[in-house]
C-alpha cells in the first residue's frame, strides 16, 4: 500500500547544484525539468503543487527499487528536447521529462527526440495518482521490463479551457531559457 502525500508538506525548493554529466549508475531514473520549473512556476496548470508532483514521481520510482535524479534543462522549452537530453544523461537511459504546466513524457536514450515510450500531453487531466504511476513505469523501463502503459486520458475540451493559460505559462519558461547554458544537476528540497 502506498500512502497519500500531504500537499501542504510538499513545499518545493529547486536549486542548481552542478553541471550534469552522464550518469554511471544503472539504477537511476532522471527527472528532467523545464527552465522555469519550481523557480518561477510553483504550481501546475491545474494548481497542483509541483513539489507534490515530484514527490509522487519519486515515490513511484522508489517503489520499484530505482533512484530518481533531478536535472534541469535550460537550452530548450520543448518537452521532447528536455526529455531527450535527460535520457542521454540518465545512467539507465530512462528519463521522465516535465514542463511546469504538468505535461510529461517517458523517454529512452536510443529514441530520437520526438519519439517516446509514453506521452502525457493533457496536463489538466492528471492527478497525483497518475504521476506516481508514471514514476513506477519509468522505473520498470529502467529495469528492462515491458510494463503495461499507464491509462490514456483524453478530454477534447481541455484545450478550449486551458490553452491561453498554457501559452502564458510557456512564456515564463521561455523567459528562463538560456541557449548557451548546459543542463544542471538539481537539488530538490521538499
Amino acid at each position: 500500500m502506498t500512502e497519500a502525500i500531504n500537499q501542504e508538506n510538499a513545499i518545493l525548493e529547486v536549486k542548481e547544484w552542478k553541471e550534469a554529466l552522464p550518469g554511471q549508475s544503472a539504477d537511476e531514473v532522471v527527472i528532467a525539468l523545464s527552465p522555469a520549473f519550481g523557480t518561477q512556476l510553483k504550481k501546475s496548470i491545474i494548481e497542483i503543487d509541483l513539489g507534490t508532483i515530484l514527490k509522487e514521481l519519486c515515490a513511484g520510482i522508489e517503489e520499484e527499487g530505482m533512484k530518481p535524479r533531478f536535472i534541469k534543462v535550460f537550452n530548450s522549452t520543448d518537452l521532447a528536447i528536455i526529455a531527450s537530453q535527460g535520457s542521454r544523461l540518465s545512467g539507465s537511459g530512462i528519463c521522465v521529462g516535465m514542463q511546469s504546466r504538468g505535461t510529461t513524457v517517458i523517454h529512452q536514450r536510443d529514441l530520437v527526440p520526438l519519439d517516446n515510450l509514453e506521452l502525457f500531453p493533457q496536463a489538466p487531466l492528471y492527478d497525483e495518482k497518475i504521476y506516481r504511476k508514471i514514476g513506477r513505469n519509468a522505473a520498470k523501463y529502467a529495469k528492462g521490463e515491458n510494463p503495461e502503459p499507464v491509462e490514456i486520458l483524453n478530454d477534447y475540451m481541455v484545450p478550449s479551457k486551458y490553452l491561453i493559460k498554457s501559452t502564458l505559462m510557456h512564456f515564463k519558461e521561455g523567459e528562463m531559457m538560456d541557449k548557451s547554458k548546459k543542463a544542471m544537476d538539481m537539488e530538490v528540497v521538499f
Binding site: S76, D78, P149, N154, D155, Y156, P159, H170
Partner: protein, 554 residues
Amino acid sequence: MKRSKRFEKLEQMPINKDGFAYEWEEVGLVCMESPFDPKPSLKIENGVIVEMDGKERKDFDSLDKFIADYGIDVSYAEEAMAMDSLEIARMLVDIHVPREKIVKICCASSPAKVTEIMNHLNVVEMMMAQMKMRARKRPANQAHATNLDDNPVLLCADAAEEATRGFAELETTCALARYAPLNAIALMLGAQTGRAGTLNQCSMEEATELELGMRGFTSYAETLSVYGTETVLIDGGDTAYSKAFLASAYASRGIKIRFTSGTGSEVLMGSAEGRSMLYLEVRCLFLTKACGVQGIQNGSINAIPLVAALPNGFRAMAAECLIASMLNIEVASGNDTAFTHSDFRRGSKLMMQFMPGTDFVTSGYGGIPNFDNVFAGSNEDCDDYDDWYTLQRDMKVDGGIVPVKEEDALAARNKAARIIQCVFAELGLPEITDEEVEAATYAYSYKDMPPRNKAEDMKAATTMMDKGTNGFDIVRILYENGFEEVAHRLMEMLKQRVIGDYLHTSAIFDEEFRVISAVNDRNDYMGPGTGYRLSDERWARLKEKYSALKPKDI
C-alpha cells in the same frame, strides 16, 4: 448587484465555457492587422532579393533568406509589388479576373504584401475568393481514425467505414508511439477495404513516419510542421533546409506530402517576434512554396482555441486557407480540432470552408467519437454525420462525403476486421479473436472492444519492423488468403508511387485509381455557370436522406 435572470442564464450557455482573451500585440497575441507587422517591400538587384518587407539582406535570418531565394518569383515581383493591395483584393472577388492571374501576382509578392491584401477583405469576400482560388476543381474531405486503446481491429473497421463514406484521405496517429506500425497497417487495410484509392497516413515523429511510408504502410504524409519564426523552427530541431530535405525524401519514394502550419503556433511555442499570427503563417506558406511542397494543412490546427479566443480569429483562419490557394498550394483547411463548447460556433466556423469548398474541407473529420480522438478531438465527429449530410442537402454543397446505409457500413467494417485478423495471424502478430472481429463490426468506441495486451502488441510491432516486413508482404498475404480484391488495391497503391502522378498539386484518386488533381481538374471558376457544379449523379447521392418522406409513401 441584483442579477438579471437572463444574464445569469446566458452565463451558463456553452459559449461561455470557452476561453477568451484581448489582443496583446507586443508578444504576438493578435490574429491579424497588427501595428507591428512589417510594411511590404521587395528590392531586387541582379535577380537577387536584397530587401524584403523592410529588412535588408544582411539582416535576414535563415527563414527570410530561404523564402527570398527560393519562394518568390522575382521575374514578376516588381510588377506585382507595384500593384495596390486594395486593387488585388478586389481582383480576388472579381469573377472576370481568372485564378491564374492572381496566382501569378501572389507568387511574386512578399509575405507582408499578401498579408496586407487580406486586411482589405471581409469574411464573405474571403469565402467568395476561396471558391475561385481552390486549386482542385472538385472539393474533397479527410477523416481521422484513432482510438484511445490503439485497438487495431477497431481502427481498421473505422477506416473501412470512413472510406465507404467517401473520404479521399484518412489519417491516424497513436496514443502510444510504439503502436505506430500496427496503426498504419490497420488504417491502410481499412482504407482499401472501404473504397479503392483512399489515401492513408500515420502521423508520427518524423523518422518513424518516413519509415512507415518507405515500407509501403502509408501513401501520404501531412504532419511535417513548419513555423514562421526562426526561433520556433530551430527550437523544434529544424531548419528550412532540413524540412526541404525531408520533403525530398518522401518525393524520392513517390509518397505524397503536404506541410503543416497554422496561425497561433509560434506564439503558442513562445516566440512570435511580436508579429501577427497571420503574417507568420504567410511566412510558413512561402516557406512551403520555397521547399517545393505541393500542399499545406493549415487553418490554425492545434492552436485554434487560442486563435478563436481573440478578435478576428475565424477571419484570420479563413484568410490563411485562402492564401494557400492563392499561392497555388493544396489546402487541407483545418476544422479538425475541437475548440469550443458551442455547437452554434463550431458549425459557423466550419461553414467558412464548407460553403466555398477547399481541397480538403477538413484536415480531419473525426469519424470516431471525439473522446476516442487521439488528436485531442476534432471539430466534427461520428455523431455529426447526419448534420453534415443534411447541410450538403440543404445547400446543394459538396462537402466531400456521401450518406451510406447501415448495412453497407457494417459489411465494410466486418470485412476489414476479418482482413486484419488474417494479416495479424500471417505476420505472427498477437491473435485477433473472432470475438474482437464481431465487436469491431458493431462498436461505437474503444469501450466496446475486448481489451488487448498492449505490451505484447507493441513488442510484436517492434519485432515485425526489425524483420523488415513491408507492403508487398501484406499484398501477398491477402492474395493467398482469399482477399484478392483488396490485395489488388494495395498493389495498385504501391504501383502509384512508381508512376508518381499523385505527387501533383491537390491529387486524390477516384475508385479506378485515376488521379484527380489541380493539373487535370483545374479550378476554372469565373462566376455562375463555371467552376465546380454538382452533376445530377453526384447530387442524387448527396441529397439522399434515408429517413425522409417519399411521395410514393403516401
